[in-house]
């Protein structure tokens, strides 16, 4: 549904702005935080007061380089900041400190997967810049909240290697995954951590040169990107089919109307009048510094997924689910290592853990069941101390209150009943209560046994060892 008409090809490039996970802003000591009352996280520097001067937050530089290393970029050991001039009420200085011709990261690539096919998307560059404030519109007036102004933003520019809205979506998800993996960004879309500008053109299949592109500005949801691309590709194809020409222009996505509309043409494009920021020295990095950062990189999601398949014998699908988020993968590995039963660890994390978190809309960081506790729980089942239904009950308890599973089993008397005398009594009672079922079994309907086992389990409130129960029943029915 999302590939363009076969006689046309689309080329999509994305400029993705990602807010970095630093404690403070890029050029001042104000906290970088979301949700504070308007204009409370501000100072002379991020308000652009006369005489205030920027200083560079080195952590933002480190995180940008870390992203570059994870995305196979070349790192610019000598990069610099530039001023990008344009007037807008949310811009405190009416210029943005950005990077023009010497970005921190050059080139790079990101692998995506769509419908089972893998594709490598080339990156152009990654540069560091400051975020702007946020315009607020009231009934009869407008205001600006500068809390976000000066927050560190990384702009990741891709080559026009994406061909479909699905690929664009996969690119954004893969990018988000790797950035969260690296601890580079929270990539929280609700908090505006990720925003993106789209460049898209279409051309007849077989044409070697790219068509004229349109730019769609300020997308802030991945779904919006997909919808806008779907619309815009169809629009451009429609124009070309009708014999028209695409104008090079900037367009805006109207989410409610579900269409893009022209904002300004190439002729009206801003002249940003870039020049080197005289208030800041060039950013100098040493090869040793970059090497140390490289040595400190986390395992990339794709590599981890492959390792989970190889080392833990997990199916591709399971490995994909478990590595989708770094925190989940870390949790799984801790459980697997502690209990040694990889398959059980994978089953527990993929079913019980993710389901319970999903139901409560919780994050794995908030989970009270420690990896050690889950491993112990798996061990109790393995050693047949408790049954699977009991284990789920214990898990529910751990999920609410945390604690040690063995202590809970002991405290609640949940240990599996393996006392043959007690089981024998329950088996006799089950046969007596269901004579027709017993008769069926004796008549050769073997599955009838399962019903009787279920009755024994029910009577024991799940604690009876099901194997011993079956044996006792057989003995009594057949004997």
């Amino acid at each position: 549904m999302t590939s363009p008409a076969p006689e046309f090809l689309a080329s999509i490039g994305l400029e993705t702005h990602v807010q970095l996970r630093t404690a403070s802003k890029l050029f001042c000591g104000c906290a970088r935080a979301f949700g504070a009352p308007p204009n409370t996280l501000v100072c002379p520097v991020c308000l652009g007061l006369p005489g205030a001067m920027p200083t560079v937050n080195r952590e933002a530089v480190r995180l940008t380089v870390r992203a570059g290393l994870l995305l196979d970029c070349e790192i610019g050991l000598r990069s610099k900041f530039d001023r990008k001039s344009y007037f807008y009420p949310d811009m405190p200085k009416n210029y943005q400190i950005s990077q023009y011709d010497r970005p921190l990261c050059i080139g790079g690539k990101l692998e995506i997967e769509v419908g089972g096919a893998r594709k490598t998307i080339r990156l152009t560059r990654i540069h560091l810049e400051e975020d702007v404030g946020k315009s607020l519109h009231f009934e009869s007036s407008s205001g600006v909240d500068f809390n976000r102004a000066g927050a560190p933003l990384m702009e990741i520019v891709s080559e026009p290697d994406l061909a479909t809205p699905d690929e664009a979506m996969a690119y954004l998800l893969a990018l988000k995954q790797i950035l969260v993996y690296g601890g580079i960004s929270d990539a929280n879309l609700e908090e505006g951590n990720v925003r993106c500008d789209i460049n898209v053109s279409v051309r007849p299949a077989g044409a070697t040169r790219l068509g004229t592109k349109a730019e769609i500005k300020n997308m802030n949801t991945f779904k919006g990107v997909h919808r806008a691309l779907t619309y815009e590709i169809e629009r451009q194809i429609r124009v070309l089919r009708a014999g028209g020409a695409i104008r090079q222009e900037t367009r805006r996505w109207d989410d409610a109307a579900g269409r893009t509309e022209a904002m300004r043409s190439k002729e009206d494009a801003h002249d940003y009048r870039y020049f080197p920021e005289p208030d800041l020295l060039p950013i100098e990095l040493t090869a040793e510094e970059v090497a140390a950062w490289r040595a400190d990189l986390p395992e990339r999601p794709a590599a981890r997924r492959a390792r989970f398949v190889a080392a833990y014998g997990l199916p591709e699908y399971d490995a994909g689910v478990l590595t989708a988020e770094k925190a989940i993968a870390d949790y799984f590995e801790a459980v697997a290592r502690a209990c040694g039963n990889f398959k059980a660890a994978s089953n527990w994390v993929m079913t019980e853990v993710l389901r319970a978190l999903g139901e409560r809309q919780m994050d794995i960081a908030q989970l009270r069941v420690t990896p050690a506790a889950l491993a112990a729980l798996i061990g109790l089942v393995e050693r047949k101390v408790i049954t699977m239904p009991t284990a789920k009950e214990v898990f529910a308890h751990l999920f609410e209150r945390g604690g040690d599973p063995e202590a809970i089993v002991k405290e609640k008397g949940l240990a599996q009943v393996s006392d043959t005398g007690a089981i024998d009594a329950l088996a006799e009672a089950a046969i007596a209560a269901h004579p027709s079922v017993a008769a069926d079994y004796r008549a050769g309907k073997k599955p009838a046994l399962q019903f009787l086992v279920g009755q024994v389990m029910k009577a024991s409130r799940g604690k009876a060892n099901p194997q011993l129960a079956a044996e006792a029943l057989k003995r009594k029915l057949e004997g």
Binding site: P44, L49, G51, S85, K93, N94, Y95, P278, L281
Partner: protein, 496 residues
């Protein structure tokens, strides 16, 4: 007996220590002098009279209680150019667009002054946003030269120089982007020092051209300039361009002789267009330095003719961005409009004066698409060549001697219709800013008409000690400052 406001800071510091006067008496005498003459000179835009009196009383109380002084500046008043932020004070840069704005924070230099116990007396007039060489570009009217009120005091720190020369301030801090400390010091007969780029933190100085701006003292003599520099110099983490170099004891470098020093006279600085009286005074000063033991010879700075053009591209390019923030949205003057763009246009049209508009437009043009390489980039290359000129000269000599400005103070209105002529008046000071080195202006005589003339001493980066040493030895030998700081202009004319 001379009034207190006619002494130098170091003289008053000694008087305070000896109990010969109080801080309150000094501040009151200055406020009296201001009441008498500021109406004519218009050196101050804003006075901090009440706070200054209270701070003086507090300093006197500390002294009476036997507390040791916080610094040699403790209890002594200093004036600030109107582009230096001081918490709670207006900081208007002599512009309408900053009407009503009060700085909510202290500039680095103001923090240093406060910590030293200095008293902030008031804010001095300037060319709007430091763009000008005569203080005629102030939105609040020009400052007049204390030596001849029909003449300009120079600029852009003209209010500061006129206040110091006219007995309305003991010393002041100004800023120098292309000569804005040295040239008014020369026109008014005081000492002005443009430190090495990065020697003094710019944090809190309202930027005109960030890669050229530098804060420095305007004072009665070289000892006071050295003393003030010692207080304001040094690394500040809030200004990334501030230098991490030890601050020497500048006063310790001051002496009587110049033996062993090699002083260069740049041939290009004594060329066509130089007023003969200015040339005579500068050459006489060079001879005086020779008599004090220095070796004096000619050197060359071949790229000097390109400095003014390069400066007016680079400075205006930076200014076009630096001044973009004055838009009426967050502070200062606002003229309402139909939409944000209309608001910007009306606010900036009403808020900026003609010279500021001229420079913003020139700078925006130099940076615009298709012109960047031909203007901004080429000007940067010229800047490199000028820096190399100085490096080559400083291989042969320790410091350079030159006039500060091609002419003495001119008449009000004489150059206002011809911006280019005004720009060319900066030809002898601009190269020092482009090269990022330091320059000192000291009085070196008078024209027959009784107007002060300044000698410029140019030293390499972080060569302030050397410049001050030369300036001080020359000053002690000639004692021009006694005529400039104590006597009235008529008295000087009478002597001649």
């Amino acid at each position: 007996m001379a009034r207190l406001s006619s002494f130098a800071l170091h003289e008053l510091s000694a008087k305070l220590a000896a109990g010969e006067c109080s801080s309150v008496e000094i501040v009151n005498d200055l406020l009296d002098a201001i009441a008498e003459r500021n109406g004519e000179l218009h050196a101050y835009l804003w006075l901090n009279a009440e706070e200054a009196r209270a701070a003086a009383a507090e300093a006197d109380r500390r002294r009476a209680a036997g507390e040791s002084p916080r610094s040699p500046l403790d209890g002594l008043p200093v004036a600030l150019k109107d582009n230096l932020s001081a918490r709670g004070q207006p900081c208007g840069c002599a512009s309408r667009i900053l009407e009503g704005y009060r700085a909510p924070y202290d500039a680095h230099v103001v923090e240093r002054l406060r910590a030293a116990g200095a008293i902030l007396l008031g804010r001095t007039n300037m060319d709007e946003f430091a763009m000008g060489s005569s203080t005629e570009n102030s939105a609040y009217g020009p400052t007049r030269n204390p030596w001849d009120s029909e003449r300009v005091p120079g600029g852009s720190s003209g209010g500061a120089a006129a206040a110091v020369a006219g007995g309305l301030a003991l010393a002041a801090l100004g800023s120098d982007t292309g000569g804005s400390i040295r040239q008014p010091a020369s026109f008014c007969g005081c000492v002005g020092l443009k430190p090495t780029y990065g020697r003094v933190s710019r944090y809190g100085l309202v930027a005109y051209a960030s890669s050229l701006d530098q804060i420095g003292p305007i004072a009665r003599d070289t000892r006071d300039a050295a003393r003030l520099l010692g207080i304001i110099a040094g690394r500040d983490a809030r200004d990334s361009t501030s230098l991490d170099a030890a601050v020497p004891d500048y006063e310790a470098a001051l002496g009587e002789r110049l033996d062993g020093l090699r002083l260069g006279l740049p041939r290009e600085y004594f060329g066509a267009g130089l007023d003969p009286e200015v040339e005579r005074a500068a050459r006489a000063a060079a001879e005086q330095c020779r008599a004090l033991g220095a070796e004096v010879f000619e050197v060359e700075l071949p790229h000097t003719p390109y400095a003014v053009a390069a400066y007016y591209l680079l400075a205006t390019a930076e200014a076009s961005a630096n001044l973009a923030r004055f838009d009426g949205v967050r502070y200062g003057r606002r003229v309402e409009g139909e939409d944000p763009t209309d608001l910007y246009q009306r606010t900036r049209a009403a808020g900026f004066g003609p010279e500021v508009k001229r420079r913003i437009i020139l700078g925006a043009f130099a940076l615009s698409h298709g012109y960047y390489d031909a203007y901004y980039l080429r000007a940067q290359k010229v800047r490199t060549l000028i820096r190399r000129d100085f490096e080559a000269a400083f291989e042969r000599c320790d410091a350079l001697l030159a006039p500060v400005a091609p002419t003495p103070a001119y008449r009000l209105g004489e150059k206002t219709d011809n911006p280019l002529a005004m720009y060319l008046g900066d030809i002898l000071t601009i190269p020092v800013n482009l090269a990022g080195i330091c320059g000192l202006s000291v009085p070196c005589g008078f024209t027959p008409g009784g107007l002060p003339i300044g000698l410029q001493i140019i030293a390499p980066a972080l060569g302030e000690e050397r410049a001050l040493r030369v300036g001080h030895a020359y000053e002690q030998a000639t004692r021009w400052m006694e005529k400039t700081s104590h006597a009235s202009p008529s008295a000087i004319r009478g002597q001649r």
